[in-house]
Amino acid sequence: MKKRSWFSRSNCLMLFLLPTAVLYLLFYVYPIGKLFMDSLFHYNKMRTVRSFIGLDNYVKVFADTAFYESSWITLRYIFFCVLVELVLGFAIALSLNKGFLGDKLARSLFMTPLMLAPVVSGLTWKFMFSSQFGIFNQLLYKAGLISSPEAVLWLSNKSLAFIACCIAHIWVSTPFFIITILAGLKGIAKELYEAAEIDGANKAQGLLYITIPSLKPLLVTIILLKAIDAARGFDIIWVLAQGGPGTATQTLSIYLYKNMVTYNKAGYSSAMAIVFMTMIMIVARIFLKYLKPQGGGQE
């Protein structure tokens, strides 16, 4: 009896995967396939003439210093953003979980960064950071923290521009951490903490030995998701700085966009896109292999 039901169960489950597979084929496999095909050719500007050059584009990508520069900038961007998002998100989630009057309202209000279209967010931050039109510097100046409203050149200084982009990205991404960690926290049985307290553990130990291990599968998931988001992040940086000043904020996404859209280098940019995606894939696989226990996420 059991054998039979298992058999049809598996098949039924496979069928569950079918609609997704179809959508994947149409909207991902096909365009990516086309992208890969494109990467093997050299196109003229108008994409009307093409010549097969095999892996030449890939060689060019790996010989491009700007590619390595952008990769490094992207790495720093991901690391910095995700780290701050994680810490902030965790802290705020813990704080909300503890509970206080109005915490439910606060919960919703923390989602406001997601309410604005990225185009608008980007522009808001751009003008808040502006040395001439910006409200940040005005407030800092009035608070006496800087000597003049033009003292801090958020967007004109190379290092500051990088930080400004990070700040804007963190602002948009942290709510995701807050809401998912909070959901996870709510799922941890209170009994575990009570038992630990009886055994003499303090709050910090509770955090370390109960909270974090319980959330580990969830944390691994969302860190990976948001790291990939940071790698792909485009809208905000583009509106804020377009990769500048100089190439200070030119992440791989920006560099890819410039090659693909602004310079119309179809073959070359396709190769770069493939390399970009492969790099992320490899890092993601490694990350998952060492951090996510195989088989279900149960401790």
Binding site: T20, Y24, I92, F133, K186
Partner: protein
């Protein structure tokens, strides 16, 4: 002594949260208040946070200037329909992956899903533009809906399989021994328990097509244009005029706020129902 400590830590907690909240809400408030400023004051060399004079000019200009209702409608339809579809299709797939764990197909599907998530949108948007033209689907809402569904799938699957993983299989096995087939188990037992996961995934997933700009820019013209694309057109190379944009942005964010408030309640209530345990 313990009570005092608790009260103090409670106060510190509250203060910390308030400060954080202020920081996070600040930019939105900036836009909100800016929408009520006279157009010239929105971007100015002497900016203020609160409006010096309050006016509804920006709203009247925004609504009079563009065909806002149509763009709003396009955004709403494409986003909401695609989200519902993505949730339905995605949780099915996520359930399958979760329950087939260890089988080759599940793992490769999961990896594939991750891969989908990695693709920079621009790499898809450009070929889609040509494809949409040749397929005669350019500037049609149906294409937006179809794509946005596919667009949200990786996220939905990735989130939901994590939730399904933490649901014990014993309940399902018991139900199957009792004679339910897989789809009955799925719809009657598993989905209700994952309601909270669905709710939070829904909000976060809905936001993706709602705010999408790049893809809509490439495949829509005038009929199926969504609001973010229309917004971007306000940023012209000629003027630094954010004023109508702030009004539209505030207006555009209202459905999201409503949706969040609506679904928030259920996340909180449902959490204690015990289905989702560590």
């Amino acid at each position: 002594m313990k009570k005092k400590k608790r009260r103090l830590s409670g106060k510190v907690n509250f203060l910390f949260c308030m400060v954080m909240l202020l920081i996070f809400v600040f930019p939105y408030l900036n836009i909100f208040f800016s929408s009520f400023k006279p157009p010239l004051q929105v971007v100015s060399t002497s900016p203020t946070f609160f409006p010096k004079t309050w006016t509804l000019e920006n709203y009247s200009e925004a609504f009079g200037k563009m065909n806002l209702f149509r763009f709003f409608k396009n955004s709403f339809i494409s986003s909401s329909v695609s989200t519902v579809l993505a949730l339905a299709v995605g949780s099915m797939a996520a359930y399958a992956i979760s329950r087939l764990k260890g089988r080759k197909i599940a793992n490769s599907f999961l990896t594939f899903t991750l891969f989908m998530r990695i693709i920079p949108l621009i790499s898809i948007a450009i070929p889609m533009f040509s494809i949409s033209l040749s397929a005669g689907l350019y500037d049609k809402i149906i294409l937006l809906i179809a794509f946005y569904t596919a667009f949200q799938l990786p996220f939905v699957i990735w989130m939901m399989q994590s939730f399904f993983d933490s649901l014990p299989e014993e309940i399902e096995e018991a139900a199957m021994v009792d004679g339910c087939n897989t789809s009955q188990v799925f719809t009657k037992i598993v989905l209700p328990m994952a309601g909270t996961g669905l709710a939070s995934t829904a909000i976060l997933s809905f936001i993706m097509p709602w705010n999408d700009f790049l893809f809509a820019l490439f495949v829509t013209g005038t009929k199926a244009k969504t609001l973010p694309v229309a917004l971007s057109e306000l940023v012209t190379a000629f003027e630094v005029s954010l004023a109508p944009m702030t009004a539209i942005a505030v207006f555009f964010s209202i459905p999201l706020i409503i949706l969040t408030m609506f679904l928030q309640k259920y996340i909180i209530n449902g959490m204690t129902a015990g289905g989702v345990k560590g």
